[in-house]
């Protein structure tokens, strides 16, 4: 694992998206994710994708890191598509409708235009989801996330779970790296080319055991510190990270309301018209 891949900020940045309140960030993000899950229409996904790219550029991320992660994600998604194709080469028949054979490898393995179209839509959809998740993670701090979730009526103990989990991911990543290096220094082989699946699985335990023990040893300390500060005594909670709405928040409120409207429209259209195939095809 590369700890560079996990970039969770604890200090808010200075760009437009960074300066929004946690409330706005969480609500916008949820609207967009719901919209992306609901729709399979490239006419909606592609504009959103470009919008997200603009958002990503606007927060001025560390491009070196972004490209590294992006490359990895593209590979993972392409690999997933390849596996899907291997299992069911004619996937497009059921979701797009029809199968125009472009190239026939064997009776079972065909490349059809519909399947390729479906894979293209799916790939764009997941890349869009990835980019918006990246923007979200990059621009939000754990406290803002808790405050944002609390604003949509999530019980604050659940908000605390999420924010603490996010807060500790970099720590865990660092511990994992340290343990792995020290284990390798003692001669543990983790390279997939040199060790078999079973041995690697066994060796994973030798990393896992110290990682889990150190992580859960922290639980007592954190819990005591929070108890001492009176956590969980009252029914409600306010957040220091939450500030008053800025002008940007008011603009974004219109934007996310629009996205919620769009989401509802997509779902209602789907229920009313009951399209035979879920993916739009020209």
């Amino acid at each position: 694992m590369n700890s560079d891949r996990l970039f969770i900020n604890v200090k808010p940045g200075k760009t437009f998206i960074d300066r929004l309140t946690g409330k706005t960030k969480v609500r916008t993000f949820l609207a967009l994710i719901m919209l992306l899950i609901a729709t399979w229409d490239i006419r909606l996904i592609l504009p959103l994708f470009f919008l997200f790219i603009i958002a990503l550029i606007s927060i001025r991320p560390n491009w070196k890191k972004v490209w590294a992660v992006m490359g990895f994600i593209i590979l993972v998604n392409l690999f997933n598509l390849l596996l899907m194709w291997l299992v069911e080469p004619d996937y497009g028949r059921n979701v797009v409708g029809g199968s125009t054979v472009l190239y026939r490898l064997s009776d079972f393995y065909i490349i059809s235009a519909e399947t390729m179209w479906y894979f293209f839509v799916r790939f764009t959809k997941f890349m869009a989801t990835f980019v918006i998740s990246l923007v979200f993670i990059q621009s939000i701090t754990p406290s803002e996330m808790a405050a944002g979730l609390y604003s949509i009526k999530v019980p604050y103990k659940a908000c605390t779970i999420v924010s603490i989990a996010f807060r500790y991911i970099p720590d865990i990543a660092r511990d994992f790296q340290n343990i792995k290096i020290s284990m390798q220094a003692r001669g543990l082989e983790l390279d997939s080319r040199k060790a078999s699946l079973m041995t690697r699985l066994k060796q994973n335990i030798t990393i896992l055991a110290p990682l889990i023990i150190t992580s859960f040893d922290r639980v007592g300390n954190i819990a005591n510190a929070m108890d001492l500060r009176g956590f969980g005594k009252k029914k409600t909670r306010t957040y220091y990270a939450e500030h008053e709405d800025t002008r940007g928040d008011k603009i974004m409120m219109l934007v996310y309301l629009l996205f919620y409207g769009l989401f509802l429209a997509v779902v209602i259209i789907k229920i009313v018209t009951r399209p035979e195939y879920q993916v739009w095809y020209p």
């Binding site: 694992m1 997933n80 699985l201 896992l208």
Partner: protein, 195 residues
């Protein structure tokens, strides 16, 4: 240590102290990290992942509902940092699995007090298999159909590989780990409390 027998309902819910909340949070964070980096990929969006161990640990230390929550939040976090899209059907499936796996304290395997014996291990294997079959064979496909109205062929393939890989990870790694943790927590093996 009080020896009062706790009611089953109470063990099911777990004790909702600050400690439990932090335990769930750390569990979810570990789950998210391991799901992304501690695994060997076997099929689309499923891998032989060591994250499944987290269900076991959180279940052993805090009870079934915390295990379910840790697995659910952990999977959402994994999706968020993984970039393969959000699959809430699988998150909920993992939550259900976490609940089954986390049933450890119900049948008397109190890891925190160092109690884990062979008979607990056998019950554990049975719950793991039932939990996996129920979570990924029933809950996830139904939810996939409801949420995404997607063709289930791929989901079945994923479900089968998930059941096999998760159950094997939870059994092959889980049992030695549980013995290890129990041994580590065995404070009062030979000592009896004097009044």
């Amino acid at each position: 240590m009080d020896n009062k027998k706790e009611s089953i309902g109470k063990i099911l819910l777990g004790k909702w102290s600050t400690k439990t909340i932090i335990g769930i949070a750390i569990g979810a964070a570990l789950f998210g990290v391991l799901m992304n980096f501690g695994g060997i990929r076997v099929f689309t969006n499923t891998s032989l992942t060591t994250a499944m161990i987290i269900d076991v640990i959180v279940g052993a230390l805090f009870g079934p509902l915390p295990a379910a929550l840790a697995a659910f939040f952990g999977n959402v976090i994994a999706d968020l940092i993984g970039g393969w899209g959000f699959w809430f059907d699988w998150s909920i499936g993992n939550g259900v699995l976490g609940f089954f796996v986390g049933l450890l304290p119900i049948y008397g395997a109190k890891i925190a007090d160092g109690i884990f014996e062979v008979k607990h291990a056998i019950i554990y294997v049975v719950t793991v298999i039932i939990g996996n079959l129920f979570a990924f064979g029933v809950v996830t496909p139904v939810l996939t159909y409801l949420f995404y109205s997607q063709e289930l062929t791929i989901t079945w393939g994923q479900a089968i590989s998930a059941v096999i890989s998760n159950a094997s990870v939870q059994i092959i790694i889980g049992i030695p780990l549980l013995f290890l943790l129990a041994k580590r927590n065995a404070r009062s093996t030979n000592l009896t409390k004097e009044d």
